[in-house]
Symmetry: C2
Subunit: 201 residues, 2 copies
């Protein structure tokens, strides 16, 4: 059922997929979906959990790997972009579950996805800072800026299409964008001087 | 009417504000709102246009100002964060207008907001690159990564609350976050060496 939901969301480029359509694709009846997941939101939550489990599994392996610490952060940023690339509905799934009427799922999303992600990022930043490879960077700021930069490409496909005339994010664009974010973030953190004039305003 | 809608969205922290409530706040009847804006989406579109006009006006003044070019980009990044701070519903307004059933407004949003923003960013990047102050950065990548980093703090207030225990974005957080993004982006672009190992995967 999760595979059927996932396929339909990719094909139709929306998370607005009906339980009836998911049931039809999975060759099951809608009652069964309601039985397993309680509601469509329940199914969306399970789908996001699957994305999170996979992404966090890879990330936590990276935290303890014998890889040089700067390289770990580079690979992690590549991994975030790859997660959005593989599961392009992730950004909409997240928003569907934390906003408006579904915001009752927000605390759960924070717990199974955001908190462990931030904890792993904090560990990666500490490994780099302890080795003297980067300046101190607030893990909270790291989370919002790095995940935000990766998310926005996938969240703004209308702009990609209308302004840049790119209909789909292919593997080449995915790699080039990941390299761009890696370059900004790693060079931006590596700097040891006072980085910029404080903003006056 | 736009002021009333704006106030309600800030107070309730959602763009799901009914036409009836907006009418009540403005002291007008709902028919008048429908007459002026056609629909609630029409009103949301006008509200976004107002945010865009203001932000783009400031940005275009910056493009032609006699300010040093690197400082212009720093001020621009501070300006993006300030726009989201002043109009915290901007991120939701954008998404409400480009996704799902309202996606018929996407092309219009691209035209009045994203395209002029990208054109101004391109001009700022060229001014810096011509002065030899930054390496070449693709304006498309600049747009998605920089606006994405700024947007995500405001789009993910659930994570701010649940994971970082911050209930509201105050002026101090707004400034600190802008400085963080400025430092990452400016140091990340200033670098003239090959920034990072290419991602293998």
């Amino acid at each position: 059922m999760l595979d059927a939901a996932s396929e339909l969301m990719v094909e139709r480029d929306t998370v607005d997929v009906s339980v009836a359509d998911i049931a039809a694709r999975a060759g099951l009846n809608t009652q069964l979906i309601r039985y397993y997941f309680g509601s469509k939101e329940g199914l969306l939550l399970e789908l996001l959990k699957r994305v999170a489990t996979r992404a966090l599994g890879e990330l936590n392996s990276l935290v303890v790997a014998p890889t040089p610490p700067v390289r770990k952060i580079e690979l992690h940023i590549g991994g975030i972009v790859k997660t959005y690339f593989r599961f392009p509905y992730t950004t909409r799934l997240l928003r569907a579950l934390v906003q408006g009427e579904s915001s009752r799922y927000a605390a759960e999303v924070s717990k199974f996805f955001v908190a462990p992600l931030v904890a792993a990022q904090r560990a990666l930043l500490e490994q780099c800072a302890e080795a003297g490879l980067i300046r101190h960077v607030d893990p909270m700021f790291f989370y919002f800026s790095v995940v935000g930069a990766c998310d926005f490409l996938f969240a703004s496909r209308y702009a990609l299409r209308d302004v840049f005339h790119i209909d789909a994010i292919d593997d080449e664009l995915r790699r080039a964008y990941a390299s761009h974010v890696v370059a900004l973030v790693m060079e931006g953190m590596r700097s040891r001087e006072k980085a910029a004039l404080p903003l006056r305003d």
